[in-house]
Amino acid sequence: MNNEHDWPLYEIFIRAKSGLDHKHVGSLHATDARMALEHARDLYTRRQEGVSIWAVRSTDIVASDPAESDAFFEPARDKVYRHPTFYDIPDEVKTL
């Protein structure tokens, strides 16, 4: 981290007041975890958008390969029976 511009990159995830999960909102450079959180607060919650922040070093994120996504997600494609709409329940039956 010699040059100030080589500060590590953090990906920022924010959970809104009414939200259930943290959403990815962008990234920023910071020297350490505390700065990452404070800068994330200043950058991404100026309008009270969040009650919780996760900052993750970008190098710690493992992502699926978009070039492989067809093959990678293939197993689920022919399993429509996982969806409730696959099943034809007679109308007379309630609450099913």
């Binding site: 040059n3 909102v25 920023l28 020297t31 350490d32 950058l43 100026r46």
Partner: protein
């Protein structure tokens, strides 16, 4: 024999590469045509990457430099409320620059490179920020007209094909509408004020009208990048279309203020249901873009000074983090 074998192998490889390239390009174009988002790790033509790095970084630089003409008025705003509002707006612009630099970095360019390009004068930024803000009314005019023009440009960009840029634009657009209202609110107060205040508002409109129209860029037949940008769904509307929309929207707003747009040829055309307006002096645009505008040098000097004067903070933060890391390593 070996040479022949190697040659034919080589040619086949080249042919396959070229075919692969063509196949990848056509698949890329099909995804764009289908309104799919291109993400950072997806395959993309090198020219697509390059044009996005150029456009997004110019956009980011514009936000950062854009903090300066209005920042000038923070210490001089007429009331405490106006001061706090202006600080909030300028903070937003800084934030917008940060979102956009982050989006540009997803394309493989480093923050350091981008900052260097701005500070060495290599990078372009929106010409509008090379004009001075001599009165408080200019702050109002900038919010109303410059942010207004920016909104017109930015809303279509929310649907641009490159995911990170589109998402940054959604966030920016949400924040931008406060900026325009803040500006119009200032103009409204001045227009309904004393004669001197009304004159100040009119003078600001006179100064900012034409530069705002120039923000949309040259007419499309003079714009090199337009056609390819449209094919790649980076650009969704032509410069002229957006400029026309801006005029049609803004003239009634000026009418409401009781101010006169400084264009003797401005007139409503009943047949086309648009305002006709006079010719733009593109020489001024070219001069300002080439660095001859009233504030180009001042803007760059201010940025360089800020960068230099802030160096001790960055160095201290880096040193502090390094020290903590060493202590942690020793303890482990």
């Amino acid at each position: 024999m070996y040479t022949q074998g190697l040659d034919s192998l080589g040619k086949d490889c080249l042919r396959d590469e070229a075919q692969d390239g063509a196949r990848l390009e056509s698949r890329f174009q099909a995804r764009v045509d289908a309104e799919e988002k291109i993400e950072a790790k997806d395959w993309m033509p090198e020219a697509y990457r390059r044009t996005l790095v150029r456009q997004i970084s110019q956009h980011a630089h514009s936000e950062i430099v854009g903090m300066l003409p209005e920042g000038n008025w923070i210490t001089r705003a007429p009331s405490l409320l106006r001061k706090t509002i202006l600080i909030a707006k300028v903070q937003d612009e800084g934030g917008h620059g940060a979102y956009l630099y982050s989006a540009a970095e997803t394309l493989g360019v480093s923050r350091g490179e981008l900052v260097d390009q701005l500070l060495t004068g290599k990078a372009k930024y929106s010409s509008i920020f090379n004009y001075p803000t001599p009165t408080w009314a200019d702050v109002g005019a900038i919010g109303w007209l410059v942010d207004g023009a920016a909104i017109m440009n930015q809303i279509p960009l929310c649907r641009c094909s490159y995911g990170p840029y589109a998402r940054a634009m959604v966030r920016i657009c949400k924040e931008e509408s406060f900026h325009q209202r803040q500006g119009y609110d200032i103009m409204l107060r001045l227009a309904r004020g004393t004669a001197a205040q009304r004159d100040m508002a009119q003078a600001a409109l006179d100064r900012w009208w034409w530069p705002s129209l120039m923000m949309f860029g040259p007419s499309d037949h003079d714009s090199k990048h337009s056609a390819q940008s449209m094919r790649w769904k980076i650009k969704r509307f032509s410069n002229d279309e957006l400029r026309q929309k801006f005029v049609d929207t803004t003239v009634p707003q000026a009418d409401f203020l009781g101010l006169k747009v400084p264009d003797p040829e401005l007139a409503w055309d009943e047949a086309s249901q648009h305002y006709r307006f006079g010719p733009i002096d593109w020489r001024e645009f070219e001069q300002v873009l080439a660095g001859q505008g009233p504030c180009n040098r001042e803007r760059l000097d201010a940025r360089r000074r800020a960068h230099d004067e802030g160096r001790w903070v960055r160095e201290a933060a880096t040193a502090w983090a390094g020290k903590r890391n060493t202590e942690a390593a020793k303890a482990a």
